[in-house]
């Protein structure tokens, strides 16, 4: 067992881990953050997407020890108390979630995209979520939600 320290959703946390463990498992099983989903376990679907130092990564493939000292943001780190963040609210308003299993990963990928590129084109949005599979929606309302989030963020003047 090793003790890993990371900044998780704005707070420093320490957790005992085994060297071979993956970030997704530690988040879900040891830290109780069940919002990060596992679907394929091989980096194909993006359900497990989290931000590490602002970059979207597949946490099902990410060795947990690599997160040492880094800033990790999961779906639980977005929004405040009972308020959804702008991207989450746009997903609700555009009826984007169907079953919702892909949705935390989609929202995190959208956040990674918009943090870096606040005015993406439609094609850039598609690229931003091209690693996220969804079996329910056909992606259209997800794209519309991201477009809506862009507009609202522009009005708000930044990624809230």
């Amino acid at each position: 067992m090793l003790t890993l320290k990371m900044f998780l959703n704005g707070q420093e946390v320490s957790v005992d881990v085994e060297p071979g463990e993956l970030l997704a498992d530690v988040l879900r099983d040891k830290l109780g953050l069940i919002g990060t989903k596992i679907s394929c376990g091989e980096g194909e679907c993006g359900a497990c997407t989290v931000l590490v130092d602002g970059k979207a990564v597949d946490s099902c493939l990410y060795p947990v020890l690599k997160a040492q000292g880094r800033e990790v943001i999961t779906i639980e780190g977005l929004g405040q108390d009972n308020r959804l963040d702008t991207i989450q609210q746009a997903f609700v308003d555009k009826t984007a979630p169907q079953c919702g299993y892909c949705i935390p990963g989609m929202v995190i990928s959208a956040k990674a995209l918009l943090d870096e590129n606040p005015h993406p084109t439609r094609k850039e949005i598609e690229e931003g979520i091209s690693g996220n599979l969804c079996r329910c929606t056909g992606y259209y309302q997800i794209i519309e939600a991201i477009e809506l989030a862009c507009e609202r963020l522009a009005e708000e003047g930044g990624t809230g």
Partner: protein
């Protein structure tokens, strides 16, 4: 009555918790002191198990129990026919790779995983049969000796009119042979859950399920326990599409809890979910259709063979649906259908979005498009001359009930896509210029229709409870709708809450829908057959009306709580009947939904790669309870239809599986979807539907594949009759043609 809530795109009832990642799916549950289970799967598609040696596995520290067939009180289950063993014991047969030998239960997932690899199983391999056409033959190896001397599970015959006369009247005849592949549901949430003994001693399962009350019957049978000693709780479901209508994990969790009396968690990884669970049936469809020069269909002859795989599952009702839809949404005076479903050693095949109505359009719509070409007639025009209308006599001899909206879906899609109509003559638009000189564009059209609710005389029913909490002045402060209707993600609970709000005349925000827990909610039937809005919607409206009546009495008595219950039977408005054994005549379905789509594609002539540029998709839903949710269904339906058309194929060789994960089984990514998507909502009411509503979820996927196939033909001149139309297949067909 003007509707305030019905017809509005209110936010989905569960959307906020889903975007926060707070909504719990089965893998998100953990219980105090829980154990972990792993399945020891069959290694052969057909073999007799000669020896099971547990000694090494049992010796591993942390292993709590290893369950084998001896531990199962009644070792059989099955949604339609109980032909499946829960666990296969020594001396018994495995019939596909999804059969199970044992379940290892251990203190940790890692130990369970390690221990299952230590279970030694010896097999005597048996001859394998994987092509249903071979399996039908009298000398084929038998999959189920105990079920008679043939692998044919069911043969359905339809005989209508006189096909010889019909073909003699025809000016053109089109004959083709169509093949569709096994398709994986590929829901994003793999099977998972927890089994435990609840505080009342009931064997309880938390899992994703489409019909919890039916699971309960099967589990109580398997454990030889009374129904009130078993319980199932359905939290958020990560997609299902038919794949959770049968039990793939529910019964295993129940068995574990029953045997070890402690909470047991089990999670399938993606490989298990792909390799060891059911699929959509592959079909082999031989079609011969005739039409007059004026474009009237005169005769149809169809042979449909479906691969049932190792166990029956719902293969017989799926086939029944297919036979009834074999002619497509067209009027034909003379027809002959022979439809078979046959056991093989392939994956079990089962319900999947369309339930037997998804394969026939690949054949019947290509037939229409080929006829249009042979007649030199516009494909929309040819359809308009033959499509069903209210009261038309369908293939099975029944008049179509009011609300047939298929023509309207076609009219709206065609006009939106640029067709011009003058006095019944339809003129197709040009496909536009390709984006590169080595690409060709094409445009294709297709229709489809499907039943809503259970068919062929089955007593489809749904029971709903509505509870009201009244404030001091007697106004409704809150309404709780209780029914066992699973919401696999499409929004059944939202739609039912909207219907309840409308029926009670209150705000949508005041309505809650109870968690599906069989100890609390009544049986509402399966989340399938696009039936919950229609069937459960009808039950909810009536329960609300009853609650409203009771509310008056409650106010007079000074009471603040009201509860009302209603059981709605589909046959109370439209009785259905089973096939006649000899001629197949019947009144098969309660209600129907209709769809038409047009696809614009671009094919790369150098590689055969097809890109779908644009899809127009019209669905007649009777009444859109929530238009944005209908559009979401359309998007998802087109997604699945596009995968069906171009990329998705679950491949087995001699019963062994070649496509095991998402890197090998390609569902469309965002980049594969048409950049432009035009959903069109058509509302031709069904007078028996709640506010006129029909069903939505399945119809949206029916026309996509044949529309794309027709567009490929328009682009490069080849017909792909064997799905999926991979780049290689299209390219090869182009080489043969030139």
């Amino acid at each position: 009555m003007s509707s305030k809530v019905v017809g509005q795109s209110v936010p989905k009832i569960d959307a906020a918790t889903k975007v926060r990642g707070q909504r719990k799916f089965p893998q998100d549950f953990n219980m105090e002191g829980q154990l972990y289970a792993k399945v020891v799967w069959s290694e052969y598609p057909h073999a007799r198990v000669s020896k099971i040696d547990l000694s090494q596995a049992e010796a591993l520290p942390g292993v709590v129990a290893i369950l084998t067939s001896k531990d199962v009180p009644v070792n059989e289950y099955g949604i339609n026919i109980m032909d499946q063993p829960v666990l296969v014991g020594e001396g018994e047969k495995v019939r596909w790779l999804g059969d199970r030998i044992a379940i290892v239960i251990a203190e940790s997932e890692k130990i369970a995983q390690e221990a299952r690899q230590l279970v030694r199983v010896e097999y005597e391999p048996l001859p394998v049969v994987t092509d249903p056409r071979e399996a039908m033959k009298p000398d084929a190896p038998l999959i189920h000796e105990e079920r008679g001397d043939s692998n044919i599970l069911k043969h359905i015959k339809i005989r209508k009119g006189d096909i010889e006369k019909g073909f003699a009247e025809a000016d053109v005849i089109i004959e083709s042979y169509y093949l569709t592949p096994h398709v994986e549901h590929a829901y994003m949430q793999p099977e998972a859950g927890v089994g435990y003994i609840d505080e009342q001693g009931r064997v309880t399962v938390i899992a994703a399920a489409q019909w919890s009350h039916d699971d309960l019957h099967q589990i109580s049978h398997m454990l030889d326990l009374p129904l009130d000693q078993v319980r199932e709780i359905v939290p958020a479901i990560g997609g299902a599409f038919g794949g959770r209508e049968d039990m793939y994990i529910q019964h295993l969790l129940a068995l574990c809890a029953y045997c070890v009396r402690r909470p047991v968690k089990m999670v399938f990884d993606r490989e298990e979910s792909v390799m060891r669970t059911g699929k959509r049936h592959p079909y082999y469809m031989k079609y011969k259709w005739g039409a007059t020069r004026a474009g009237k269909l005169t005769a149809m002859e169809m042979e449909i063979i479906s691969d049932a795989g190792a166990y029956a599952s719902t293969s017989v009702p799926v086939l029944s649906n297919s036979a009834s839809f074999a002619a497509g949404p067209y009027v034909v005076p003379n027809a002959k259908v022979d439809a078979y479903t046959v056991y093989t050693n392939n994956a079990v095949t089962m319900a999947m979005r369309g339930f037997g109505s998804t394969q026939p359009p690949v054949a019947y719509e290509s037939q229409m498009n080929k006829l249009a070409e042979a007649l030199g007639m516009d494909p929309v025009e040819l359809r308009m001359k033959n499509l069903l209308e209210d009261g038309s006599i369908a293939l099975t001899g029944n008049p179509m009930p009011p609300g047939v909206g298929v023509k309207e879906t076609l009219r709206q899609t065609a006009l939106a896509a640029g067709w011009k109509e003058e006095d019944g003559v339809w003129i197709k638009p040009g496909p536009g210029l390709p984006s590169a000189p080595y690409k060709r564009r094409g445009i294709g059209v297709a229709c489809g229709y499907k039943n809503v609710g259970y068919s062929f005389g089955f007593d489809d029913k749904t029971r709903a409870i509505v509870e009201l909490a009244l404030d001091e002045s007697g106004e409704i402060a809150r309404a709780l709708v209780k029914l066992g209707a699973s919401d696999q993600g499409m929004g059944a609970h939202t739609a039912l809450a909207q219907i309840a709000a409308e029926a009670l005349g209150i705000d949508y925000e005041k309505v809650r829908v109870a968690l599906v827990d069989t100890s609390v909610v009544p049986d509402a039937g399966s989340c399938s057959a696009s039936r919950h809005v229609y069937m459960s919607g009808n039950a909810v409206i009536r329960a609300c009306q009853e609650a409203a009546r009771k509310r008056e009495e409650a106010i007079q008595r000074g009471e603040r709580r009201v509860s009302a219950e209603y059981e709605y039977h589909g046959r109370s408005v439209r009785p259905t009947t089973p096939y006649d054994d000899e001629n197949g005549m019947c009144d098969p379905h309660i209600g129907y939904g209709y769809a038409s789509q047009i696809a614009l594609v671009e094919v790369d002539v150098g590689t055969g790669q097809t890109e779908v540029l644009k899809v127009w998709a019209a669905q007649d839903v009777g009444k859109a309870i929530n238009p944005e949710m209908v559009k979401g269904q359309a998007g998802g339906g087109v997604h699945m239809g596009l995968g069906y058309a171009l990329t998705e194929e679950f491949i087995q060789k001699e019963g062994l599986i070649k496509t095991r994960r998402f890197s090998e089984y390609h569902i469309p990514t965002v980049a594969d979807m048409p950049r432009e998507f035009i959903p069109l909502i058509v509302e031709v009411p069904d007078p028996t539907g709640p506010y006129g509503a029909k069903g939505v979820g399945e119809m949206t996927t029916l026309p996509t594949a044949p529309a794309i196939i027709s567009a490929i033909h328009d682009a490069v001149g080849v017909w792909i009759d064997n799905l999926p139309a991979t780049a290689e297949k299209v390219w090869r067909a182009m080489q043969v043609r030139s």
